[in-house]
């Protein structure tokens, strides 16, 4: 299997494919171009991105591309399905707690400034976003600003894998831990996926074996920074507007679609043990999860156990 890695969307991208070398090289090139073009469309850190244009249009209808419309429709769907635990309109809260530029720049800056004038909760509900499918018009109310980070990354990974599959018999696209796999590698019955130890990222906690489809992980130990004396992380609890206080450090979800896995990983991590079973049952979506707590114990449904495979 041939692999190709590069940086995009502020994360490591890995493409892997089986097939003839010349076709795979062609596929890698087209897939990389798609990922980089999508980053330009969905990034909230670029003033020129389509998402930034949409955020600036708050209060007036704005016509968006088919790709952005597709992701916004998914975001609206999952907002309702997770009863608001997944909420892309937390961008004002993210900015308030110091995540106002890319993580690479934040790490260079050191401690984030305090924004005392902005109080948590002073923002319209994401349910107020209005979508006109026929004309691809989007209306977000004044004061709303969207961050499609995770769900967009999952959607891009899946679309990229579909592009790559045109050039290969089996392939995978891994965007910083959010991955989509098509077909099966030569001689393999499933895809092995190592689950990172959230406390020691250089190590693996376990390895799972999954069928073609999606895996995504959310963790509170990755994008962290200091704001004053307070340690912040990027997973906002929409109910408080603050970095989520969770019993779990990371949640990995195995699902049919990468955006689905990404959304539920985030919602379960924020909801924690008390709400996870309810979210899983009431979502009406088929997925399994593995959660890692502060003692590195792995939690999940009994079905999750079937995926665990340790060499």
């Amino acid at each position: 299997m041939v692999t190709f890695s590069f940086r995009s969307m502020n994360t490591d991208i890995l493409l892997a494919a089986d097939g003839t070398p010349s076709r795979i090289s062609e596929g890698f090139k087209e897939t990389q171009q798609f990922i980089q073009a999508s980053e330009g469309r969905f990034s909230r850190f670029s003033e020129q991105s389509e998402l930034s244009d949409l955020n600036r249009s708050a209060g007036a209808p704005f016509q968006v591309s088919p790709d952005l419309f597709a992701v916004l429709a998914l975001a609206q769907h999952f907002f309702h399905l997770t009863r608001g635990l997944f909420d892309p309109s937390i961008l004002p809260d993210l900015r308030r707690i110091g995540y106002d530029q890319s993580m690479e720049l934040i790490r260079m800056r050191g401690t984030a400034p305090l924004f005392e004038t902005l109080l948590a909760g002073e923002r319209p509900s994401f349910s107020e976003m209005d979508l006109d499918e026929r004309r691809r018009l989007v209306l977000i109310p004044p004061g709303m600003a969207l961050d499609l980070g995770g769900i967009a990354k999952g959607w891009i990974a899946e679309q990229a894998a579909i592009i790559l599959s045109e050039y290969s018999s089996a392939c995978a696209v891994n965007a910083g831990g959010d991955m989509f796999m098509i077909g099966l590698p030569n001689g393999e019955g499933q895809w092995p996926v190592a689950i990172e130890d959230p406390l020691q990222p250089q190590n693996n906690l376990t390895t799972i074996k999954v069928d073609p489809g999606a895996v995504a992980t959310s963790a509170v130990t990755k994008r962290i920074w200091k704001q004053g004396d307070k340690q912040q992380h990027h997973l906002i609890d929409p109910r408080t507007g603050e970095s989520a206080r969770t019993d779990w450090l990371s949640v990995t979800v195995i699902a049919s679609h990468t955006y689905e896995a990404e959304v539920f990983a985030k919602a379960l991590l924020i909801g924690g043990p008390l709400e996870s079973e309810e979210i899983a049952h009431k979502s009406g979506t088929q997925f399994s999860y593995l959660a890692v707590d502060h003692d590195r114990k792995i939690w999940g449904t009994q079905k999750s156990l079937e995926y665990i495979y340790v060499r």
Binding site: M1, V2, T3, F4, S5, F6, R7, N10, T11, D12, L14, A16, P21, S25, A172, N174, G176, G177, D178, M179, M181, P185, E188, P192, V193, A194, I195, E196, D197, P198, P201, Q202, N203, N204, L205, T206, V215, T217, S218, A219, T221, K222, S250, T252, P273, S276, E277, L290, D293, R296, K297, I298, W299, G300, Q302, S304, L305, I308, Y309, V310
Partner: protein
Amino acid sequence: MKIIRTALHYWFAIISILSFLVGWGMLAHSLKPIQPAQGTAGNTASLQALPPIQAFGNGLNFTAPSSQSNTGFPILRSGGS
């Protein structure tokens, strides 16, 4: 008076038994950490001792920018970003 006392005794006895059963039921159905049966893969007690990713792969490069390599089977990693 004796009838009331007897009724109260029965009442407390029934409530105690019901509370015990409800508590037992709730604990039995609460979330538990995954504990695979002995002898199966995935015993959480052994997870911390697992070797790092390099031991699984064949020289896969997850971080180097713009690199293309022909490898054996790739080990994908998921850990959030």
